[in-house]
């Protein structure tokens, strides 16, 4: 649970520790490091031109974010996500996204509603043009809007965490197969339900949206590809 405080503070971009934290997270999420790869404090520090102190603090944060695992007096290792982890997360998310959509229906503001409509509209445009990268970006943003609109910092935080956690898997999924346009169609339906004030429907649609996303991912087989063979780490 680690982590209900405002991300803005937790991930301050303007301190060395913040920079290290962000860079390492991006690197891990983008797959720069192998799973179970060891991260050495001095190496990271030298690479970024900082001392061990901010690196160590960033490590502590990354550990609680679940991206690395620290074994005392030994080292920090990039955590692996198993196939089952991904499945579990999507199951959990499907419930929570449903709840989120329900609450969003009750609490969404004018501005948020507008941004959501704009998002869907823009995504439709890019879908037509086949701009997969922008589509993925807008997809992420749609969910962020939804999280913010639910007006619960607890739920928002949980969902953002999960969302980010599966990003490395999801990014590939969206840009590789034809899920993008399909996903946006579902966004549109969710949006309409929220606009109509139908909380039950919004919940149901958001719930199903997650299940569809997972099913698509499994079908495409990409998360299997992601799940690399376990590298024996006992060297």
């Amino acid at each position: 649970m680690k982590n209900f405080s405002d991300k803005q503070e937790a991930t301050d971009k303007y301190s060395l520790r913040g920079r290290v934290f962000h860079k390492l997270r991006d690197d891990i999420l983008s797959g720069k490091y192998e799973e179970h790869e060891e991260l050495k404090e001095v190496a990271i520090g030298e690479e970024m031109g900082v001392s061990r102190t901010p690196v160590r603090e960033a490590f502590r944060q990354l550990e609680l974010e679940g991206l690395i695992q620290i074994i005392p007096n030994k080292g920090a290792y990039v955590t692996g996500i198993t196939e089952k982890d991904v499945k579990d997360i999507y199951m959990i998310r499907s419930l929570l996204e449903g709840l989120c959509a329900r609450w969003a229906t009750q609490h969404i503001t004018e501005e948020q509603m507008e941004e959501m409509e704009e998002n869907v509209y823009l995504a439709k445009f890019h879908a037509g043009k086949g701009h997969l990268e922008q589509l993925a970006e807008l997809d992420n943003r749609f969910h962020d809007i939804l999280y913010e609109a639910c007006d619960s910092k607890m739920l928002e935080h949980q969902l953002k965490d999960f969302h980010q956690y599966v990003l490395r898997v999801r990014k590939k999924t969206l840009s590789n197969v034809n899920r993008g346009p399909k996903s946006n169609e579902e966004h549109e339906k969710i949006m309409e339900a929220i606009k109509a004030g139908d909380a039950d429907l919004a919940e149901q649609l958001a719930h199903q949206h997650m299940i569809n996303a997972y099913d698509n991912m499994v079908k495409s087989g990409l998360h299997e590809a992601y799940e690399r063979k376990e590298r024996r780490s006992e060297k």
Copy 2:
């Protein structure tokens, strides 16, 4: 989401940082510090006989655990839990505990089943004797067993976080009103459903169990008492 790694590593008890982390967490959860109270690195360090370094690292962890909020270049402050936060958590938990019970039905081991039965049996005994403290302890343990039995480190982690997060509220609730025995009766029903292999029923019962716990807490008015008046912190 900070924090999918194994709690065991994350909260290592045998390093100074680990000790600081545990002590601060216990102190915050037990209410030693006021909400929004500032925690100063040197003060905490002197109190525990350590330097600022392990204190700072513990702070980073506590921040991601949501127990404190760090404002860059300013300070670390104990986070407050609002009435709405507690409500939101219970809503979220009600969904996830349901899912957990479902999965536990499918994955629980012999030993876990036995411990669960023992737990319920023992709790029944203490309920008869009016041992509220032991009852609260067993109540916590029941849920931990359930979390472990679901065989999903993702879900287990989430639920343990939430569980801990509301502990300061829940502890009082259980020991002050007559929820203890009632709670255990519900545990027994959940246990029976799991034993019978009825995942749907287990999910439904666990879901309702959380809602009841929340309703009871609201009725007893204790979480309002917990919600102290906001102390103006702009000094």
